[in-house]
């Protein structure tokens, strides 16, 4: 499993995580899934809807934001491929909380942000049995 992402979009995701520090930042990944080949085309940066006291280790994208995201994706002839979020001062591995609330098929791109500096991103997909994640390899498309 791979996900192809232009370098400038990955840079934007990482910058978003740095700007959100020490809180978690999140947003939607838009693009195309063509017979399993995923390519990121655009991003939607969203407010973390969690109450502020929990934003350091939790994020929430409301159903209302997802509804708007679906409409925007349709307008761009794309799909919501997944969600990006940051882990301030934690590894870019899915947490148990991530697993509990995850939805299969979506790509979950997690960026570790240590002391306000992004230190790497990895991407994950929930297995159908909901018990674990598998890594989706990030293929970066170089900037032209």
């Amino acid at each position: 499993m791979n996900i192809n992402i232009p370098a400038h979009l990955l840079e934007q995701i990482q910058a978003h995580g740095e700007n959100a520090y020490p809180y978690e930042g999140a947003g939607l990944i838009l693009g195309k899934d063509e017979e399993g080949k995923r390519t990121v085309e655009n991003l939607l940066f969203l407010e973390n809807a969690r109450e502020e006291k929990n934003q350091h280790n939790r994020y929430l994208i409301t159903a209302e934001d997802m509804l708007q995201g679906e409409k925007e994706a349709a307008r761009q002839n794309a799909s919501i491929l997944g969600i990006f979020h940051s882990h301030p001062d934690h590894p870019n591995l899915p947490s148990e909380y991530d697993r509990e609330f995850a939805i299969p098929w979506y790509s979950y791109l997690i960026t570790s942000v240590n002391s306000a500096k992004a230190s790497g991103s990895r991407c994950w997909r929930l297995e159908d049995n909901r018990e674990s994640f598998s890594e989706e390899i990030i293929q970066v498309i170089p900037n032209k």
Partner: protein, 90 residues
């Protein structure tokens, strides 16, 4: 009959369909029809206690049915019900 729109992540559990036409007078009956017809959907819509998973939201047009009458919200034959996930993590 009302239409139930299936979001992209759940389509693999509904034989790839993006919309289902199902009998039902209220939201709950349409959902029950969906999981009876496509049992693989059940695990992703309901938890082990038979309650809707916290990320499952249902919209009638722009309105979240939680702001209407919840699972008892009445539906007409022309209505389209959307499943919209909310996304949480940590």
């Amino acid at each position: 009959m009302p239409t139930l729109k299936i979001p992209t992540p759940l389509r693999p559990y509904a034989e790839g369909q993006s919309a289902l036409t199902l009998p039902g007078q209220v939201v709950e009956e349409v959902l029950e029809g969906a999981v009876e017809t496509y049992p693989l959907l059940k695990k992703h819509l309901f938890n082990d206690e038979g309650k809707l998973r916290p990320y499952v939201n249902l919209f009638l047009g722009e309105d979240n049915v939680n702001q209407l009458e919840g699972l008892k919200t009445p539906l007409s034959a022309e209505d389209t019900l959307l499943i919209i996930p909310s996304i949480a993590g940590g």
